[in-house]
Amino acid sequence: MQMHSFTIQALGDAAIEICLGDAISPNMLDQVTAVSRLISDNPPPGLLDVIPAYTSVTLLFDRAQFSPTNIDEIAALLAAAPETRKTTHTEDLPILHIPVCYEPPFGTDLLQLSDQLQLPISEIVSLHCTPTYRVYMMGFLPGFPYMGIVPEAMQLPRKPQPAHATSGSVAIAGSQTGIYPVDSPGGWWCIGSTPLRSFNSADPLTVLWQPGDQVRFIPVSLDAFHDIQGYSKHLSFTDLRLQGGWPL
């Protein structure tokens, strides 16, 4: 894996954005993870946060200490980093199994989506449950995972108008799929809901996910949804991760 292909620029007056490419891919995920780790392991003075995204890593600095020369220092750190690193072998990663109920009252956008895609709902559900997804990044809301890649046949740009999405809603937009960790307005198409929590301010991990995670969706009935919701609510995120989500 090449480490030395990047562009670097300021984002505002106290942040630096490192761009590593312009396409979402598992290889890019590895690069983003490696750069995030490199910076976190060699923190420059005043570093407050490291925010990995699909193809970029953004560094936030204390503005009292920030100087434009920080950009050159980070560039030098990246340029001096080893050029190749081992690519993550996904077979080594555990898979988080996420139960999803695609039945009413969930999946509030399924009818409209089915109409737009000219696909029966059963086909959308089956397509959505086919791939093993990766968590590429978190953003938007605490613990909102940006996962990909959604099968092409069910890809559709985000909704024209944002609407209310309830906590647990599983949604898609373009090649991405995600889960609303809390009630929120949002522009993604809601196709189901998971009974598992993915954000808990009292949990030591705070969120269920980590970038790089592998995820599979398992369709469940409404009855099973309620059962799992009852059983799972006392489990910590560490427990859920150890048991691979909620394998059925």
């Binding site: 984002l11 007056d13 990995p52 953003g139 605490p142 613990g143 929120s184 996910w209």
Partner: protein, 322 residues
């Protein structure tokens, strides 16, 4: 303890915010006008980053159940103690059972109420800031409601304050001229056609009514139209100005999400944030281009001036501690 007798429109517990958890998507939250928050805290002898209230009009009505020193800074929302005008930008001793309410919003948009010792609010991830989107932090993760009783930390209370020692300098308390806001070019500005860029730097922007703590919505009097590519989501920060598909701009503020996918066309530097935070819906301004090195210098100057001012205020107060 301070009791909410009548709820305000959006009164939340805030401090400097929750920085360092962007990788899991936790919003920074915190005060919109950070320098006003820090000043309010200094005036009652607190550390800058002490939990205080951020208030919008209508700002609500409160009863103090203990004797406490308070200070209100930021927008001039006409605070009244038992019906009598209370000075702003100044420490005031409030006696038990006093009622604080507000008259008219005369200038600015949001104010900060600090109490000596600070509100006793449990920290979540190192901050007392209310995260409204996630419903965590602050006071039960939400805006204050009627009947809430906020505990106040016990502290040494300043007994006497000599006015001359704590009159804040005029630069800090007067809201600056908001006709012009300095901006840096954003990382995605080159996606705009040269003509669109020219428009952006010369147009007048108007603050829209659906602005909130997440962002100030801006409409350009000269529409900035044209197809813009949809981008791969990446990090955004306080002050990032995104161009939305409908031509509206949003300047991200305290409750901004950590990432976004709209073109980041401008970036408002820190020293201008207080101005933005005090703009009311309908206010207009133009943007003026500045460069990174100049903006960083201005930031450092503002930070050190304000810090020196707060330190002298704290010294003035300390010499009158019980």
């Amino acid at each position: 303890m301070m009791e909410v007798v009548q709820a305000g429109l959006l009164v939340t517990v805030q401090d400097a915010g929750r920085i360092g958890y962007g990788s899991v998507g936790i919003h920074p939250s915190g005060a919109m006008d950070k320098e006003a928050l820090y000043l309010a805290n200094a005036l009652v002898g607190n550390d800058d980053n002490t939990a205080a209230l951020e208030m919008h009009m209508p700002a609500g009505k409160y009863r103090f159940h203990v004797d406490t020193w308070i200070a209100i800074t930021g927008g001039q929302l006409e605070p009244l103690l038992d019906g009598t005008a209370m000075p702003m930008q100044y420490p005031v001793l409030v006696r038990k059972n006093t009622i604080l309410h507000f008259g008219k919003a005369r200038q600015g948009f949001r104010a900060y109420l600090a109490v000596a010792g600070g509100f006793d609010i449990p920290l979540w991830k190192g901050s007392a800031a209310t995260d409204l989107a996630a419903g965590v932090g602050g006071w039960q993760g939400r805006a204050l409601q009627r009947g809430d009783r906020l505990p106040i930390c016990q502290t040494h209370q300043p007994l006497h304050v000599r006015p001359s020692l704590v009159t804040p300098d005029s630069d800090q308390i007067q809201l600056s001229d908001t006709d012009i806001v300095d901006c840096l070019p954003g990382p995605d500005i080159s996606l705009l056609e040269p003509q669109q860029q020219k428009t952006l730097w010369s147009t007048t922007l108007q603050v829209q009514p659906h602005s909130n703590r997440m962002g100030i919505r801006l409409r350009s009097v000269i529409p900035i139209t044209g197809d813009l590519p949809s981008l791969i989501s990446s990090a955004v920060v306080f002050g990032t100005v995104q161009l939305l598909p409908n031509g509206e701009l949003i300047c991200l503020m305290a409750d901004h999400p950590t990432t976004g996918g709209y073109p980041r066309v401008l970036q408002v530097p820190y020293y201008e944030w207080g101005k933005l935070a005090q703009l009311r819906p309908g206010a207009t301004f133009r943007v003026q281009r500045t460069e990174l090195a100049a903006a960083v210098l201005r930031n450092h100057l503002l930070l050190s001036n304000h810090e020196a001012r707060r330190n002298s205020i704290r010294l003035a107060i300390q010499s009158y501690l019980v």
